[in-house]
């Protein structure tokens, strides 16, 4: 039926595309959208420059399982991740066919290649059930743009993929055909019970019965030749497995026993059969043993195979993997500071970033940090009036230091020392700083990094004061000298520079090592100590950090 329908559809399509112009319609070069590949609405609609994330469903399912039109679904939430575009791949009409069907593995391979080619980035795949095996097949296919599709994929996340096949399906098939059952006896008993209870029922566990009569029902049996023939997973490709695991209490009268079902169709061992990206994420539902009842078979709970994509734990793991895998370290480029103006020499550089498309807004924001700083200093200098002609020129310059910069496709953060000296003057050291989301250039403020601004700032102030007083000998000597000469109240004026105010900590950068804080010349010690910088490790700030900070820290590069 499917082949016949596909042929008819092809003829119809050929007729229909001829109608408007009499010429075949040319596919747009920058679009990968097809009947099978659809984009999930999100804030970053442009594929070019984004990290494409593709969700592929499993057997007897469709792309609707990901809830692409719901902002709270796994796909909807993924679409909100900075810098990614989210796509669903659908093969519902063929979802009872094996992954080698032209509309499944080969078509998915073409979709992955197109997304990678147009975006210029590697693709992240999120696959449910047999979608993981379709991915395994697709990765080994040739990429029309060169190499294999595997080289275009950054990471694969699987949900309940039966790497070794489905034990439950295998046992039920054997019972159905009267062939030898090789599973443990308790599993066989449970499978018989399910077959009995599923008479007249179609959802939950009973959905498996729809698969059994099809060819794919055989292909998905444990140790099937179809699975054995799949190409091996590419070595070095990160694959994160997620799985469900549940025990069921199986009783009759006053007697009973317990059976471990994994996620139902897929055992834990099979669902975690190929994990190369750290330990698998397993959703356990074994704490309270569920009794196998007809009601349970129809609504088996969050650990069940088809419920995994709706569980908060699994969704969080998938989103975290997407965020991490989509992050790319950006290249740093130094550009000469804009000329400060006549009567001044300008000698520094400011930071620009490169490496992915769509960085114009961020680079404009980085440039604006220097432009705004120059404008503020110029305005300040104007208050001094016209410099005396006998003195030399003033100067301006900023000098980014790699230790106080992080730049990734998720966030760019910079703390740059700068100096602006009035003609004939001195002591113009200060900081320029900014933290921006990529690609929006939305600025991240210090308070937004703390769950409670009051507590966070107080903790930061305490940590910075301790660190500076313990390590900066210039500050130590300055405080000691003024205390000895004028008393502790005089020293307090400088120590107040550590007080937990937003102004005292306005200059900061988020770096992989921690929160870098720039203390202005003259803020906590005399001018001779110059600009002061200290970095507070994230581990020390962890109790005070906001969810935003927790999200951004893994993205720092």
């Amino acid at each position: 039926v499917r082949r016949c329908s596909a042929a008819i559809a092809a003829v119809l399509a050929a007729v229909m595309v001829m109608v408007p112009t009499g010429q075949p319609v040319q596919a747009a070069d920058l679009s990968c959208t097809t009947n099978q590949l659809q984009q999930v609405p999100g804030p970053a609609p442009a594929l070019v420059g984004s990290v494409p994330v593709v969700f592929i469903h499993g057997i007897t399912s469709s792309s609707a399982m990901w809830g692409p039109s719901s902002p709270s679904s796994i796909a909807g939430q993924a679409a909100k991740v900075s810098g990614v575009t989210v796509w669903t791949f659908d093969y519902a009409p063929e979802s009872l066919d094996w992954v080698t069907d032209q509309a499944i593995g080969p078509a998915f391979a073409r979709a992955l290649a197109c997304l990678a080619h147009v975006s210029g980035r590697k693709v992240i795949v999120v696959a449910h059930s047999m979608g993981g095996l379709a991915t395994q097949y697709a990765l080994a296919q040739s990429d029309p743009y060169g190499g294999t599709v595997a080289t275009r994929v950054a990471e694969v996340v699987t949900l309940g993929t039966p790497y070794d096949g489905s034990t439950l399906l295998t046992v039920m098939q054997a019972l159905r055909f009267g062939t030898k059952v090789t599973a443990p006896v308790d599993y066989t008993v449970a499978a018989r019970a399910i077959l009995s209870l599923c008479a007249g029922r179609t959802s939950g566990f009973c959905g498996l019965l729809n698969i059994m009569p099809s060819q794919v029902g055989t292909d998905l049996e444990t140790g099937s030749s179809a699975i054995a023939k799949l190409p091996p997973w590419p070595s070095g490709l990160p694959v994160l497995d997620t799985a469900g695991d549940m025990d069921l209490r199986f009783g009759i009268g006053s007697l009973g026993f317990q059976v471990n079902f994994g996620d139902g169709p897929v055992t834990l061992g099979s669902a975690t059969g190929h994990d190369s990206a750290g330990p698998p994420v397993v959703l356990y539902c074994n704490a309270v043993q569920s009794l196998l009842t007809a009601e349970y078979l129809l609504n088996p709970g969050p650990c069940f195979h088809t419920h995994l994509a709706h569980d908060a734990v699994i969704i969080a793991a998938v989103l975290s993997a997407i965020r991490t895998a989509s992050i790319q370290k950006l290249n740093l480029q130094l550009v000469p500071d804009p000329p400060f103006g006549s009567g001044y020499t300008t000698s520094g550089d400011y930071l620009q970033v490169a490496g992915i498309l769509g960085l114009a807004t961020v680079n404009a924001a980085l440039r604006n940090l220097v432009v705004a700083d120059e404008a503020a200093i110029r305005s300040n200098f104007e208050r001094y009036g016209t410099p005396h002609p006998s003195v030399g020129p003033g100067s301006y310059g900023s000098a980014p230091d790699e230790g106080q910069i992080s730049a990734s496709s998720g966030v760019v953060s910079v703390l740059t020392p700068a100096v602006g000296i009035y003609p004939g003057g001195n002591d113009g050291q200060h900081w320029i700083s900014g933290t921006f989301l990529v690609p929006s250039a939305q600025q991240i403020t210090l308070p937004s990094l703390f769950a409670s601004q009051l507590q966070g700032l107080a903790a930061l102030a305490k940590l910075v004061r301790s660190a500076v007083l313990a390590t900066n000998s210039c500050v130590q000597q300055a405080i000691a000298s003024v205390t000895a000469a004028l008393g502790s109240s005089a020293a307090q004026v400088w120590l107040d520079g550590f007080n937990p105010t937003l102004n005292n900590y306005r200059n900061f950068a988020m770096t992989p090592a921690g929160l870098a804080i720039g203390i202005q010349q003259g803020q906590v010690a005399d001018e001779a100590c110059g600009n002061i910088e200290t970095t507070i490790p994230w581990s020390q700030l962890k109790p005070y950090l906001s969810p935003l900070a927790a999200q951004l820290i893994p993205e720092l590069r």
């Binding site: 039926v1 016949c4 008819i8 007729v15 006896v185 018989r192 599923c198 006053s254 009842t293």
Partner: protein
């Protein structure tokens, strides 16, 4: 206009072909479909052999009608106390291939009656119990 008529005609003919194809092309690729699972289209009465098995299940000889693997897996012990009854609910019989279920009222001595379901399998013409549980 002529082009439109031809296209409409072609679409109609192809639609007819598609429907015909759906009717005549076998869906299942596995050779044997004699035990294919199907959803019962309408409630039926339980066969006498199945009703008999259900009654034996709650009797002292209950283990005689258990599927052999189930009997082995449960370990020793009595399934139900003496005096337990199970009344089959008319029209609750569902069968798919060799497997079936039926529901009814389980009454244990001294306890309130509860709705329960019993799973069965046709083993060479003899109905054996595969499951009993709350409905």
């Amino acid at each position: 206009m002529r082009t439109k008529v031809i296209i409409v005609g072609a679409v109609g003919a192809l639609a007819v072909l598609a429907v015909a194809g759906m009717l005549i092309v076998p869906h299942f690729s596995r050779a044997s479909v004699s035990t294919a699972v199907r959803v019962a289209s309408a409630p039926r009465s339980a066969p006498p052999g199945a009703v008999s098995a259900v009654h034996v299940l709650v009797s002292a000889k209950g283990r005689d009608v258990l599927a052999p693997e189930l009997n082995a897996a449960l370990g020793p012990g009595k399934l139900f106390p003496a005096g337990t009854t199970f009344i089959v609910q008319p029209g609750s019989w569902h069968q798919a291939g060799a497997y079936a279920n039926v529901s009814g009222t389980l009454r244990l001595p001294g306890q309130a009656p509860e709705q329960a379901e019993i799973g069965l399998m046709d083993s060479h013409g003899r109905w054996l119990v595969t499951f009993e549980g709350q409905l």
